[in-house]
């Protein structure tokens, strides 16, 4: 994850500038002899073998299923059907809902994560007693699997014995229990709350690290020039960390898009398929045995994410070039 951030980020001064092909940089990065090349190949080989056999082969084999009639329940006819699987996906009446849900899920989870994560990072920037312990404690959601997070929140959002309804009623905010997970609108809210709970920490940590890399002199200079807090935030803080922020957001979008676990555990896409996003819908189709259609859906996800990543990075670079 940190790598793509680095790849796209402008090369920081020093280390990266010392590329061997640009002159005599660090010693090991210069051209190496045949014996070294063999050693390097041997070092890379285990990783390549594992990823090749257990990730790339099934992925490619799975991709070609997208263009076949490939149903686990009836394997007598696995002929090519071209874009038939895609066609039947697009024709399904629920497809519109699923795409809309996916967008709501991604945007609805992302925005609160960024805003709250940013606020936490700003508050954590200045050292205080127990800050390390605090950081370790808010790291807690990361130790929990997506599935288990879904289960924890499913229990808390339980209509009858759930603690969320109980607390809301005690606070006088509602007068009767909300059927969180059996009402489509509330169910979507509930799964997004669970995802926000999980994702805030990631933003807080990435943004905090970025904030700490902004030099104090910048702030001192701004203070000398008489800039207020708000002005300083928008003129110094935000621009200084914009690259990190942009790339963290990109990673999270890809991740949230591809994250069916919480929904799978909390609602299973229900009630009545109303909380399915593309990847949970894919699970459903896989479980029904229609691997052709599921693979087609997988390819749609992959292409969408790659296009999104490409456009997003272009937009980020374009804006940077503007300044």
């Amino acid at each position: 994850m940190s790598l793509d951030v680095k790849q796209a980020a402008p090369p920081p001064s020093g280390r990266k500038a010392a590329r061997p092909d640009q002159g005599r940089g660090s010693s090991t990065k210069r051209r190496f002899n045949g014996r070294t090349a063999l050693t390097l190949l041997a070092f890379l080989a285990p990783a390549a073998v594992f990823v090749g056999i257990f990730t790339y082969y099934p992925m490619i084999a799975g991709s070609q299923m997208a263009f076949r009639n490939w149903n686990l329940n009836d394997l007598s006819d696995t002929s090519w059907v071209g874009f038939g699987n895609f066609q039947s996906l697009f024709d399904a009446p629920e497809f519109g809902t699923i795409v809309r849900n996916t967008v709501v899920w991604v945007v609805g989870s992302l925005v609160p994560q960024v805003v709250i994560g940013f606020a936490v990072a700003l508050f954590l920037k200045r050292r205080f007693r127990m800050r390390g312990a605090y950081q370790a404690m808010i790291f807690f959601p990361w130790a929990v699997s997506g599935f288990l997070i879904g289960m924890l929140f499913r229990w808390m959002f339980n209509a009858e014995f759930g603690v969320v309804n109980d607390l809301l009623m005690k606070a006088g905010l509602i007068s009767s229990p909300i059927p969180w997970l059996s009402d489509p609108g509330f169910a979507m809210t509930a799964i997004i709350i669970a995802n926000v709970w999980y994702g805030v920490t990631f933003f807080a940590i990435m943004i905090l690290a970025a904030l700490q890399s902004v030099s104090d002199e910048m702030y001192e200079a701004a203070a000398l020039d008489g800039a207020g807090k708000v002005r300083t935030f928008f003129s110094i803080t935000l621009p200084s960390i914009s690259t990190t922020l942009a790339l963290t957001i990109l990673l999270r979008v890809i991740w949230i898009f591809n994250f069916p676990d919480i929904i799978f555990a909390m609602t299973g896409g229900g009630p009545a398929d109303q909380t399915h996003i593309i990847t949970t819908y894919m699970i459903k189709i896989t479980q029904e045995g229609d691997y052709g259609k599921a693979s087609a859906l997988g390819l749609i996800v992959m292409v969408t994410l790659m296009l999104f990543a490409a456009f997003y990075l272009m937009a980020v670079r374009f804006r940077k070039g503007d300044q």
């Binding site: 090991t28 594992f50 920490t201």
Partner: protein, 278 residues
Amino acid sequence: MINSQTLVGRISKVVFLGLCLIVTVFPLYWIVVTSLKEPGAIYSLPLDYWPKQLSLDNYIGLFTKSDFGQYMLNSLVVALVAASVATLISLLSAYVLARFQFSGRGAVLGAFLITQMIPGFIALGPLYLMMTDFGLVDSKTGLILIYIAICIPFCTIMLRGFFENVPDALEEAAMIDGCSRLSALFRVIVPVMLPGIAASFVFNFVNCWNELFLSVTLMNSDSNKTIPTALAGFISSFNIDWGSMSAAAVLTVVPTLVIFAFASKFIVQGLTAGSVKG
């Protein structure tokens, strides 16, 4: 910048961070409390925020009604072996990718990155068929092999960030003294990078410990199930046994929580290493 010197700033800071902490920790508190209630008390109103009578019935039930001890052992073995091997393999590949320029380096990195964008389910069918051919369905070895492959890309990326913080003069010196590259790596670099390696290992371990969908697909027999598979088994179509579920959830989370508490500092370093340097 928010000025925490003023009284208002200080109060809002404490309130906000306190609130965040409560919200973050509350689900854990609630599942612990649920697991310690008597099975019947879970479904009674009004809700008790602290059980009047602590009971271990849910835990006892978990171990008597299901083979939970066996599942925990399976998860431990699978996660431990897969995380160790994956960390070792990633160490080698990360070293090469961090230290050397060669044609195809970008392609290798790209290939690792793409694996992070694939919805796992696209590979599930072919993977199952392949494991059938290998005779590795419903076998811990099979699951371990797949987990290793899943861990490698991200672990390589993470370790690569740590390598770049270690000056390469270090292994150069060792090699001039007659070490081979491999022994230079393990005798000189690894000790320096130990925190980073530990963080990567923990990350791998937690991922394997928590993995659900592959394990559900591949492990059929009770003696091979891992914890997440067992958890998924507590959901029958309409009814969830929240007593067993909460006890199992606590037992699942606590080990990862403990190692995270020790390693979180290094994991944070690993995640942020590449992104904000310079």
